[in-house]
Symmetry: C2
Subunit: 219 residues, 2 copies
DNA sequence: ATCGAAACAGACTAGTCGGTTTGTTTAAGG
DNA sequence: CCTTAAACAAACCGACTAGTCTGTTTCGAT
């Protein structure tokens, strides 16, 4: 799609994102991106006026994909389960599957990347990061609010707190997984998060079997 | 303490750490550190042979302090409660207090910082990061193992998974807090983590009051 | 007082950085 | 076929970077 130029632009962004995940934005020089993408300086500065513009384009694309991925899995969960609470539990399970399907590769988050180099970016770019993280709250809020309303939680917890906890678990799990070079940490952290939701909204008897999808599949 | 030179070295490290928290390691130039610390190039390269050596010294100091802070709070929790599970709950509460006492300032983690710029550092430095994160597992393991042994958990959870979940919650909470500029996120995430521990090791009746320190203070 | 080493001070350098400039290729529209 | 603009290519530039080098100051031990 697009003419010939959009291929080059995508090659630049793909290479840049890969490098940023490895060494951060500041340490990723334009020349590094050029040789990784196999393009020249002229091509780069034809598509991006500055390196900062590349940085913004990268996070815009990441935010779009991240949101799409979340929305897609929410829809899948909505098809697999009828009540909001079960949908949430299925949703987390789907994330576990997605991550496990990556093998030994550990996913990375450009939002977190940028936050740790926050002073390098302008307000506009940081806003995209904040909105990208906020999107998780907004997309999950109706589900959590419904669950809190109908499944009276065992402890005080707001919808945003539970959405944040999911995101925090993922972000933290990625950090630990990267440091220990262990791709199993993140899905196991998500499993613990799912445990929390199950216990918080204790509809099941404490010792019940964990086969949740089978239980909730009748639409 | 120490002779005159150690003051300068500390000023350099303090300034460097502050800058690294704001913009990462790569974007913190030696010259930036010099002007922030009010020292000259000669002084800097007298105390550190390279910038990489400063990076290692920074994370070594951070790891020492982080471990000491954790050990201190474990000891406080041991004095405030007798059984391991209550000690863990108190420990998390102490962390909440510590973080809330910082006001609107949000703590930062040099380990996470370095992991997002991992390719900049040599193996030795990254090992210090990995060991620093591993220390949380090792220091908390006896407590969690005892809790799992005596308070039969409602779900499957290993000691390391629960230790990792605490750390992941903190790391993720710091990221979210920084992005949204909201210092209350991290302590509220810890509160949710404490909820999970309470529900996982359900000794209390579901609707019990949350005044845990008062309950467990009799040694 | 004297000596020597540790603790600086600051000019200097080789290389890298983001960005510019000028020129060439490509391909679609008239 | 000609025009025209997008899509490159690559030499080039000033600012900056980590690190060096040649001193000077400070201070405790003798």
């Amino acid at each position: 799609m697009g003419k010939d130029g959009s291929q080059t632009k995508r090659a630049i962004m793909d290479a840049a994102e890969r490098l940023v995940f490895l060494r951060g934005f500041a340490a990723t020089s334009v020349d590094d991106v050029l040789s990784a993408a196999g393009v020249t300086k002229g091509a780069f500065f034809h598509h991006f006026r500055t390196k900062a513009e590349l940085g913004q384009a990268l996070v815009e694309r990441f935010a779009r994909r991240d949101r799409a991925h979340l929305e897609r899995n929410i829809q899948r969960a909505e098809r697999l389960a009828s009540d909001p609470l079960t949908q949430l539990l299925v949703l987390v399970g789907l994330f576990e599957e997605d991550i496990e399907s990556l093998g030994s590769e550990i996913p990375a988050c450009l939002f977190a990347c940028y936050i740790y180099e926050a002073q390098l970016f302008d307000e506009r770019t940081l806003n995209i990061v904040a909105e990208g993280l906020q999107a998780w709250r907004e997309l999950l809020r109706p589900k959590f609010e419904a669950a809190i309303r109908h499944c009276e939680p065992q402890r005080i917890a707001s919808a945003d707190e539970l959405a944040d906890l999911l995101l925090a678990t993922i972000e933290g799990g990625m950090i630990l997984g990267r440091s220990h070079r262990d791709a199993t940490i993140l899905p196991r952290q998500l499993r613990q998060y799912r445990n929390y939701l199950e216990l918080l909204f204790a509809r099941w008897i404490p010792a019940a079997a964990p086969g949740l999808v089978a239980v909730a599949a009748e639409k």
